[in-house]
Amino acid sequence: MIHDSLIRERLVTGDKTAADVTRDISRPILNQPSSAWKIGFTLSLIFLGIFGVSLFWTVWTGIGVWNINKSVMWGWDITNFVFWVGIGHAGTLISAVLLLFRQKWRMSINRSAEAMTIFAVVCAAMFPVFHMGRVWVGYWALPLPNSFGSLWVNFNSPLLWDVFAISTYFSVSLLFWYIGMIPDIATIRDKVKTKTAKFWYNFFSMGWTGSTRSWARYELVSLILAGISTPLVLSVHTIVSADFATSVIPGWHTTIFPPYFVAGAIFSGFGMVATLLVVARKVMNYENYITIGHLEAMTKIIMVTGTLVGIAYLTEFFIAWYSINEYEQYAFINRATGPYWWAYWSMMSCNLLAPQVFWFKWARTTPWFIFTMSIVVNVGMWFERFVIIVTSLHRDYLPSSWVMYSGSLTEVGLFLGTFGIFFTCFFLFAKFLPVINMSEVKTILRNRE
């Protein structure tokens, strides 16, 4: 029996039984897709098409179809990369860190957060891959034994660290997500009717029988993977931040970047989780599983990380002043008052000021408001990366090379297109896999027999 706390909100409301959980969560998988799903999926496919067209145009013609130039050689591409990687952070944080901290409220949201992570990392990977001038030889960035002579990769390069960091993160996240899903897949396997579905769910359930031994090992593997994933939460964005921090460009060359990037990543990740779940709980009728309590917990994290990020912004300014380094000082004054001031102040207001509304209970518990704020957070975080990348490059050391930069239609298309990838994957996930971890949620039901 689980002790029913008097002061703590219930994690699952609506007096659900274990059977209810199974029924509710496998419903979308067993039934025909709803019209909302169909509309959403079609839209996602349209955006996916935009991605395809933009990508084809880029690879066919050359990176020149973007507007990046002699001084700003990274623009929307790497902005989008960091944006998506950041979003990918919440999944691992929720599933691994909160698992280790025994935060049980994570149980009904970790599955979708992890899925989001994986899809976001896929979107993120598109940019470093396709921003290469010669993507067809991109595999040279992998330390593969080759017959080109004594050619090897450069372990000094943060871009190479990225290759390792992102691929490790992706594989561990995928594994964690999949292993966590095995008992649920087995549940679905037992319920589906068609031969094909039976075959595939059977295949992916890996012969799960639900024996005590299986469960014991399952728990152990989850714990180990959580242990492996936890440092990754910190390492991935630390390494992404090293792309900038190890350089010599004023505005990039900053030691505060690793913690600041990680906080920003968690901030944006939770923003994206909030965006998805506020919609999903409504559309899929999961309000009893993803409760207001969940939303409130997430808003608190958003507020804390947003404030952390804000402090980082201010610290950067202080350090620039304190450094007596004129290039550094100019870079920051230019951010706030230069030609890209609007990007800077969008970032400031979305990331530092806006989340402060979550001091108020109403703001933390009103789903439509949380949804709006989550969008604001992600807009702000996109601008943060834009500000870091573009405003630092567009005016660096020699004023003779100072330029302006604005994205081309193709660059915008690629960015919008990644939402196509993301939501196409997410809709398929919502249709074919259990969005909430049934087996785990069953452990926190109040009326568990």
Partner: protein
């Protein structure tokens, strides 16, 4: 068991059939189907199984073998008879004369496998002194221009046969001669003795021919003034190397005026601060900001239409000092701050070693200038009129007469040689030419004038021609071909001699028709014409030697020109002269395009203007005050109207340093018949910019008064390579004054090297005394004038693609070397280098924006600095850019995957990315997009593919070539002079390259010089390039 078992194969064998036994003895048991095979039947398909297998096996093998060849077969045709002078892979160099403009620089042509691929100044030429300007550098591409006429034209129809053209022209010439109709041969200035002799021979046969010459940008003012004052209608030879004080009224003598390469070299000699020689002072009075003005120690804005009064004022100050009569001048003829008086004091102090010049084409101004120089006793010191310049001697009056003659019908025939009046005079010429009974053009392309001529007899490019030149009296330069004519063209001189029937008898040469380069060239009739003349004069041996050297010099004539001028005669026009009440329009030549004679040359259009950094278009430069009044922004256009010529929506450009009430526009743009690049109405390519020549009136004055200017309705974005113009107070360029430098050679460069804490030991190869080379560069900011010759030279040497206007608008020029130009705004109180400070002062300005007129300018060449601790190297994930043990920052194109991280992390932003494939791409339809244009490609340098990064390599191919030469021939690397392309081209020798491990080398000395500093030293990236602090001689007046 007995061993007598008998095996048999068939009944025949068992029965010992006699027929079988007989058959067995033959090679083929069965009869061969020979009859069948040889008859018709044999061709039908009746082969048996065995044959089928044989055929099948054979064909499969054959197909398999054939398909093993995976690449397209391309044929390299080897020399049938290898010319003696050509070794594949090794360049040959020939001396010749540049045909880029009329200055006549001696050049060295680099030829690889029979293709001229590079022009550089000849060190033995008095004019080029080893350097060459951008226009000259780029003129090699006109040789490989697809717009060139491949055949002569008769009434716009191509004919492949010169004899039919010659026949028609000869008969027409004969008719005109018989009827006594006048013919005009209209050329640009010709100073080639042989060409003049050819013209004389032509005139001898056709006595009705008159030779008239004119220059697109006229020097008639000086010529007339000298005719009046010295009774000698020619340009003097200016000696800037002797001038300690230079006062120039609007003459852009470092950029475009008369002989800029020579003047730059001479000028630079006195611009390097030296304890013994001192340093010259240069004062520039001008209304536009010219490149020369940017180099002046003192630059004073001057309203162009007040120049006459200003020059007269200078005369008065000098006359007063000398106790001579003054001439009356209008009130307010002195400039702000008594600038003219200061100049006069300086000049008096340097009398005899000073020089006053004016860029005006007004005879009266030039007469005053003559009088001033006479007063200062500058003749035979800085000015030599005895050994005069023949570079420009056109006669605008005669051209006007010719135009009227053509219009009225008194002239019935016209021949254009090196002249294009429809473009560089005015459009009315087209109608006048149409009236002529005979019109011939020697233009190499179908230019504006050739398009309306009956006959076009295309001339060779100068690299395909034999000729000579006498740019200065007594200085003979030779032009020799370095390639057989690319097209079916013929030298104009040969055409003239042919029509005159005066061709020298061709030597019968057994090899003439074997298409062997040297023999073919030497069998040219004009060669014989030139050779016979010079051999007669100096002998065969000396002629051969002179050809090798590029020319020879005759002893200078002694004596001084006798001055007979009288300034008091000018008094009337000076007092009458009123500054225009409206705006002045000043026409000027841009540094690259110059007079526009190379209208289809993409290198020149892509060369940023040294001052405005605008490429590809001409524009109306307006001062800030006009811009504010008209409400112009960066993308505005203006309508201008003057002298009955009106242009609408011409892009406007706010030019700091432009004098208030003065606007300026470059000539040489707006071609309608240049071609794909330069604009061709015929082929549907829009002209580049507008043609400013029609503004000039009959006096060919570059100053046009009372211009109407209004804001245009359209927007236009100019392609600029630099869009931020102030240095923001950063320590990137160091400056000081000559006075401070004399006290302390460290002046301006006192800032000590940053204190670096490092845990790393110095790399072995960088340590003094290590046996390797360590390449470095030094750039003297005092010598660099910002002309951009190095940019073009580098682009040619390193196959840098031309990207076009749109890509530059996106800030994607590919130049490996650029010249950063910073303005600092000067108010009464201070120099402002920060954008915000300037904006603050602007905000409180009452509309005259005086601080915008007074700008101080600095040029800083910037290329890859080959940092010892290069930020670009550490960030490349695939090690595509790495460091050599000789200190070079190397780029491995093959390895580059194009992450562009190196470009981002370069603090100098000198890395260039191949955004597209710039060759064989119709979107970049320049010389890399056609086989002819590709002939200019340097075979020693890779043409980069799409998606890779590139940058300055310190001309690593030249270093390699030197090493190979030393290896092959023996010797010491210390004795080999390796010059990078930018260094080789620099007319003022501002760039020095060499081995820092050789302590005695020039580069080592310069790196140790007190003036040497590195840009961004504090980043501890240890650049290999050092700059010499700019010393301005500003405290002398």
């Amino acid at each position: 068991m007995s061993n007598n078992i008998k095996y048999w194969k068939g009944e025949e064998e068992l029965n010992r059939d006699p027929q079988f036994l007989a058959d067995q003895k033959r090679e083929f048991g069965e009869a061969l189907p020979l009859e069948q095979a040889l008859s018709d039947e044999g061709f039908e398909l009746n082969s048996n199984r065995r044959d089928f297998l044989k055929y099948f096996g054979f064909s499969v093998t054959a197909v398999a073998l054939a398909s093993c060849s995976k690449t397209k077969v391309r044929y390299a045709v080897p020399y049938l008879v290898k010319p003696e002078e050509i070794t594949p892979g090794v360049a040959s160099y020939y001396r010749s004369t540049c045909g880029g403009c009329n200055a006549g620089c001696g050049v060295e042509v680099k030829v690889r496998e029979g293709r001229p691929i590079k022009l550089d100044g000849s060190r033995d030429s008095v004019i080029s002194k080893g350097g060459l300007c951008a226009t000259g550098q780029a003129s090699i591409l006109s040789l490989y221009d697809t717009e060139r006429l491949a055949n002569p034209l008769i009434k716009n129809e191509e004919v492949t046969d010169w004899t039919s053209l010659d026949g028609e022209i000869k008969s027409k010439l004969a008719v005109l001669k018989a009827t006594g109709k006048k013919i005009v041969l209209l050329s640009d200035t010709i100073n080639s003795p042989s060409t003049l002799r050819a013209i004389a021979a032509f005139k001898e046969t056709y006595t009705n021919v008159e030779h008239v010459s004119y220059d697109a940008v006229s020097y008639q003012g000086i010529l007339q003034a000298n005719a009046t004052d010295f009774n000698k209608r020619s340009l003097p030879h200016y000696h800037f190397e002797n001038a300690k004080a230079i006062v120039s009224f609007g003459a852009d003598f470092l950029g475009t005026w008369i002989s800029p390469v020579e003047f730059q070299a001479d000028y630079a000699k006195n611009r390097r601060p030296s304890a013994e020689g001192g340093m010259s002072v240069h004062i520039q009075f001008e209304s536009t900001l010219s490149m020369t003005g940017t180099n002046a120690d003192h630059r004073f804005p001057m309203q162009a239409s007040k120049e006459l009064a200003n020059v007269a004022t200078l005369y008065n100050y000098l006359a007063k000092a000398k106790g001579l009569a003054q001439i009356p001048v209008p009130a307010n003829s002195e400039l702000a701050g008594n600038a003219i008086e200061k100049a006069s004091k300086l000049l008096l102090k340097n009398a005899g070693k000073s020089l006053v010049i004016s860029g005006s084409n007004n005879t009266e101004i030039q007469q005053l200038v003559n009088a001033i120089n006479m007063l200062l006793e500058n003749y035979n010191s800085t000015i030599d009129l005895t050994n005069q310049s023949n570079q420009f001697s056109g006669n605008d009056t005669a051209v006007q007469a010719a135009f009227e003659g053509l219009n009225k019908g008194s002239i019935s025939g016209v021949i254009f040689y090196g002249s294009n009046p429809v473009f560089n005079q005015n459009k009315e010429w087209a109608a006048a030419i149409a009236k002529a009974k005979l019109s011939i053009s020697f233009a190499a392309t179908k230019d504006e004038t050739a398009a309306v001529c009956q006959y076009v007899a295309p001339d060779n490019h100068f690299l395909e021609s034999w000729s000579d030149a006498e740019p200065l009296k007594g200085l003979i330069h030779f032009t020799q071909p370095t390639i057989t004519p690319v097209f079916n063209t013929r030298q104009a001189q040969e055409s003239l001699l042919n029509w005159a029937g005066a061709l020298p008898a061709n030597e019968i040469d057994a090899l003439k028709n074997k298409a062997i380069l040297s023999q073919k060239i030497e069998s040219s009739s004009f060669y014989l014409f030139v050779k016979n003349y010079w051999e007669g004069l100096i002998g065969a041996e000396d002629f051969q030697k002179a050809l090798e050297m590029g020319g020879f010099e005759l002893p200078k004539t002694e004596g001084i020109a006798v001055y007979t001028g009288n300034v008091s005669a000018l008094a009337a026009s000076i007092t009458k002269a009123q500054a225009s009440t409206g705006y002045d329009l000043v026409l000027y030549q841009s540094i690259g395009v110059k007079d526009g004679s190379q209208g289809n040359n993409p290198w020149l259009y892509e060369l940023p203007d040294p001052v405005s950094k605008v490429c590809w278009d001409n524009y109306v430069a307006v001062p800030k005050s006009i811009a504010v009044k008209l409400g112009l922004d960066e993308e505005s256009t203006v309508n201008i109207e003057a002298n009955g010529v009106k242009y609408e929506n011409v892009p406007a450009f706010v030019q700091p340093g432009q004098a208030n009430n003065t606007i300026s526009l470059a000539v040489g743009y707006g071609h309608t018949h240049a071609g794909k690049v330069g604009g061709s109405l015929e082929k549907g390519f829009a002209p580049i910019g507008v043609n400013a020549y029609p503004f000039m009136n009959t006096t060919r004055d570059v100053l046009i008064g009372d211009v109407k200017i209004t804001k245009g309705s359209e927007k236009y974005i100019l392609a600029q390579t630099q869009t931020h113009h102030s240095i923001e107070g950063r320590d990137l360029v160091r400056e000081s004054t000559f006075t401070s430098w004399k006290k302390n050679p460290n002046a301006g460069n006192e800032k000590s090297a940053p204190h670096i804490y490092t845990i790393w030991e110095k790399a072995e190869y960088r340590k003094d005394g290590s046996p390797n080379h360590l390449w470095g560069m030094a750039i003297d900011l005092n010598a660099c004038t910002g002309c951009g010759s190095c940019i073009v030279s580098c682009s040619i040497e390193n196959n840098v693609p031309v990207v076009g206007r749109d890509e530059i608008r996106l800030r994607r020029e590919m130049h490996w070397i650029r010249i950063d130009r910073y303005y600092s705004f000067v108010t009464d109180k201070e120099k402002m280098t920060r954008e915000d400070d300037i904006a603050d002062v602007d905000a409180y300005d009452k509309g005259d924006f005086k601080h915008w007129e007074n700008v101080s300018v600095i040029h800083q060449p910037m290329m890859c600095q080959h940092c010892a601790q290069a930020p670009c190297e550490t960030v490349c994930p695939v090690l595509a850019t790495s460091h050599s043990s000789e200190g070079l920052n190397m780029m491995t194109y093959n390895r580059c995957i194009g992450t562009k991280y190196c470009g981002n992390n370069c603090p100098y932003k000198v890395r260039r990315f191949n955004w597209f494939r710039f060759n064989d791409n119709d979107k970049f339809d320049f010389h890399f997009n056609n086989p002819l244009g590709k002939m200019v490609i340097n075979p020693d340098v890779t043409v980069r593919t799409r998606g890779v990064m590139e940058k300055c390599s310190f001309c690593v191919q030249r270093i390699q070539e030197a090493k190979l030469t030393v290896k092959r021939k023996g010797g010491n690397m210390k004795e080999v002079k390796i010059e990078t392309a930018c260094q080789r081209a620099c007319p003022s020798n501002a760039i020095v390259f060499g081995d820092l491990h050789n302590a005695d080398s020039e580069i080592s000395k310069l790196h140790r010089n007190e003036r040497a500093f590195s840009v961004l030293d504090e980043l501890n990236i240890q650049p290999s390039v050092k700059y010499m602090t700019k010393i301005r001689n500003t405290e002398t007046i």
